[in-house]
Amino acid sequence: QFVPPFTEDCRSHMYPPNGPTFRGAVAWYTVDLDLPPSKRWNTLIADKKTDLVTMIQAIRDLADAFVPSGRLVELVDVTLPLMANTLPDPFSEEIKGIAAVSGIPLGEVVLFNIFYEVFTV
């Protein structure tokens, strides 16, 4: 239990969530699918803008750590907006709406949304 992989005895009575393994509850938001795709995420992104900018900055810092010249981030900001137009709707319009509301460069919002495929690299 105190050596890697720190396998514990099966836990019990952890529910309702409490204690050091529980950081907090999760807020609910409604996404109205009757709205135009570019407007659907406005309420959520307005609330979470600061956290989203912070997270994107952490990925940017990571990219700069790999390529200190900043060229990698530049590449993302220049090429991925072109990728946005190739994505199927409604995703392309929804991603553009998120970039508009958050003020984050479109290429970086695209990168966040295709990260699963990119990360396999």
């Binding site: 396998t7 514990e8 099966c10 050091p20 609910w28 996404v31 992104i45 995703f91 495929e117």
Partner: protein, 253 residues
């Protein structure tokens, strides 16, 4: 990630998952945590997707991410996806896409489309198993009738395997981490064995969302990459999520 679909002894289907992400993306030595995992936690939200003011499906998401990793179509099916590593990976799919070959789907857009448009477990299973992808993945799907729980192991182009709940074989749950179920997991990253040990210890008689949460709270199933835990019950349409921490000592993955 760890995803579990279980059928209790009354025929209820329960679906739980830990979303682990941020591996190798910067380690905070001082706080003994992954930088990206910590930045993702404040972005975790539960979403209720509505049309004509009626719930179409619900999900747990990272704000800003329009695809789906965890979701429920109330009273119909539940769906989670876990990352699958393969040399024939996403970078090939991206290259094909850039070169204009665009017959594949981005993984999280497929899961979003299935949650939004599929109207049964069987329909969801077929779409997840047959749609060409840009990257390999595991889809873990729960239905609303006895025996409806499965792991779909996907390459980019093929459905490699389908493992389903089979009560006659006393397989009352299916559990997926990030390794093909017919292979041994990497010995450095075996979260499957402890999770299965705890499931077998709980037994089908006592499995519930509560005891499933206990299992998802047991190290190393809970680890430094775990951002949230989600519990879903298709018969009630219930989805609940919790942001997690893993106090030291705790495995980095």
């Amino acid at each position: 990630c760890t995803s579990i679909v279980a059928e209790d002894d009354k025929g209820n289907l329960l679906h739980g998952r830990n979303l682990d992400f941020g591996l190798f993306m910067g380690w905070d030595v001082k706080n003994k945590s992954w930088i990206i995992s910590e930045k993702l936690k404040p972005l975790v939200v539960n979403l209720d997707f509505k049309r004509n003011n009626q719930t179409v499906f619900k999900s747990t998401n990272f704000a800003g991410y329009v695809g789906m990793l965890t979701g429920i179509k109330p009273h119909t099916f539940t769906l989670t996806m876990n990352e699958r590593f393969s040399l024939d990976g996403g970078y090939i799919g991206i290259l094909e896409w850039i070169l204009g070959q665009r017959d594949g789907m981005w993984m999280s857009f497929l899961t979003r489309s299935v949650l939004e448009n599929a109207n049964s477990y069987e329909e969801a299973k077929t779409r997840l198993a047959t749609t060409k992808l840009l990257a390999p993945a595991y889809f873990i799907l729960g239905g609303n009738q006895t025996g409806q729980g499965c792991i779909i192991t996907r390459s980019r182009t093929l459905s490699i395997d389908l493992l389903e709940i089979d009560l006659k074989l006393n397989r009352w749950y299916v559990l997926e981490t990030n390794y093909d179920h017919w292979e041994q997991p990497l010995f450095l990253d075996d979260r499957r064995t402890p999770a299965m040990k705890c499931m077998n210890q709980v037994t089908q008689k006592n499995i519930s969302l509560k005891t499933m949460y206990d299992i998802l709270s047991t190290k190393p199933v809970l680890n430094k990459l775990t951002t949230y835990t989600t519990l879903m019950q298709v018969s009630t349409g219930n989805l609940e999520s919790y942001i997690r921490d893993c106090p030291n000592p705790c495995m980095p993955w």
